[in-house]
Symmetry: C2
Subunit: 344 residues, 2 copies
């Protein structure tokens, strides 16, 4: 079924508020989930909502905290996330650091023990909207095997980068796994085999069975290079946030463990060379206009497709699994009744 | 033929000195070239030496300058490279920034108009040896086509990362092209076809002919993701250094153009959480010990192979093309005679 952005935001915000989230925290967490749906990434979308609510009820999310910030050095804020919402803890620290960037030139936020961030694009887009270059990294549970290996030893270790230009920023947001676990789940749910080379099963054999793959490990993207990037990001996040490494990470996938992964955000002021933003935009336009491999399929720049999908979804609404929407509405209604009961 | 590290360093240093390089500049530039040979990357090795000399003679390398440094912000040094040796300009700025990193937590160097850096691993290894996390980026001439595209629009845009641990640092150094241009040159020199999917020719058709590929474009590594990473690095470097974008870059491959690409170095102090470096080492050891896909081929961590090769080459010497070595020796002898003639 098709729903509107406004309806999705309203439901998600209300559900989080009735579970104890202050209004501004609920709005931000809801925004991150709904934007992921609008960009066509439902694995980071509303299906996370029931899990967030369950995590609040089990006490492994504290919906009211922004974490505890501390200036570790002149240009570094360290944050104990204290089981807060990922987006709330992250944006509070980014907004604390941002006013200092024109003086510092570069600054870093390192977060541990906050909950799942959702799509990293959200954070670097927010940083680019402030006029800065943004880099975001986040660690997660072991789901990816090394190149030449067979056992899950790395997180999906996403990397996001946004660079402001005279027009729209370039926005890169990629996981260092060959495919997202969400896609394997989707194949499992629809009974379709996965492609050869995507994953191994729990006995470490190559498999095309998505159900067996879920218990095993996904391949890194791009062979040795993508694995190299993934393990470098694994170490970077742990070395900066002091957080757990993949085999010890819990709490971004389940409903009961405190979340102990790490997040890193870097904000940088671009060179103020006159004409530079226009030169960057002109270059991106030249890339888009360069001859495509297939006629009628123009070359894209990272962020183009997600931006277009988001615009379309903002205008026309977006599709969502009917049962998921009904379940979330039922959850919301029952909670509102309970909530109003408590208040009276 | 096989030569020793000491012999290679002596020859390269002498050749650069007799072309006007101060001793410390010659030693550093020679070190970077020789280390690349020892690590098994001859495309960044001694075959660059004749070109460096030719560039000095044509006035597009100034062997005596370290560039002009300026603090652009509290934590950012901007450098006008003034056609200096890449390694000399870069290391001078890194060494200027490094003593401030314990106070700042993070800092950045942005260089434009310096010459070719060679392998980026050198710089991040130097930063890791100071106890900091190092990130290095550098731009170059258009050699890589976009994912879904056919024309060279991006540099090979290498990325290097080093993270110190309790033992050896993790050292990642990867180009965002599927294969290095050096490998295509090698296939052309030895008359072997290249693999399908590696490159396109100047008419933008897929080709397995290395000679045609040299005039065309290499594919990005890892499909859309590797392309995304490459173009993000392209924009990052230009936005930070104010340097040229790939289609306008000159001077890292030829012998006559001033070099106008950009280089970026980021230095970060790791979290001082007790036990963290040992935890990082233990994790890397667990990855190395994890079950391999092929019996007898253990999982590697980025930097392992290069470190081993370098150790072996330091002990046993390394192989070099005999004609290259003879040519360099002849060049050196003729120059020494001319040099001594000038002095007498």
């Amino acid at each position: 079924m098709r729903i509107s952005e406004v309806a999705a935001l309203a439901l998600a915000t209300r559900l989080l508020e009735t579970h104890g989230a202050p209004r501004d925290h609920a709005v931000l967490q809801a925004r991150v989930l709904v934007t992921a749906e609008m960009k066509g990434h439902p694995a980071h979308g509303l299906r996370r909502l029931a899990q967030l609510v369950e995590r609040i009820e089990r006490g492994v999310i504290d919906p009211g905290t922004k974490g505890t910030q501390r200036w570790r050095a002149d240009a570094v804020i360290e944050v104990e996330g204290s089981s807060g919402f990922g987006p709330v803890v992250a944006m509070a620290a980014i907004e604390r650091l941002a006013p200092h960037i024109p003086d510092l030139g570069i600054g870093l936020v390192a977060v541990r023990n906050a909950n799942h961030l959702g799509m990293l694009a959200h954070y670097v887009e927010a940083i680019a909207a402030m006029g800065f270059i943004g880099i975001a990294l986040s660690s997660s549970e072991s789901q990816v095997h090394p190149f030449g290996g067979t056992r899950a030893m790395l997180g999906t270790n996403p990397v996001a980068v946004a660079v402001p230009t005279a027009e729209e920023p370039l926005v890169l947001d990629l996981a260092t796994s060959l495919v997202p676990m969400g896609r394997i789940n989707h194949h499992a749910a629809t009974g379709r085999p996965i492609r050869e080379g995507w994953a191994r099963d729990a006995e470490r054999h190559p498999t095309t069975d998505p159900v067996r793959a879920k218990a095993g490990a996904i391949a890194p993207f791009g062979g040795a290079k993508g694995y190299g990037l993934g393990i470098a990001m694994e170490l970077l996040v742990a070395a900066l946030a002091g957080s757990a490494l993949a085999p010890d990470v819990r709490g971004t996938l389940d409903s009961h463990s405190p979340c102990n992964k790490g997040d890193v955000f870097i904000l940088i002021e671009p060179s103020l060379t006159p004409g530079l933003p226009a030169r960057l935009s002109a270059y991106l336009d030249a890339v888009r206009a360069s001859p495509p491999a297939k006629a009628g399929e123009p070359v894209l720049v990272p962020g183009d497709r997600a931006r277009r999908r988001r615009e379309t979804a903002g205008r026309d609404g977006f599709d969502i699994d009917q049962r998921l929407w009904e379940d979330l509405n039922a959850l919301s209604r029952s909670r509102i009744l309970a909530f109003e009961g408590q208040r009276s």
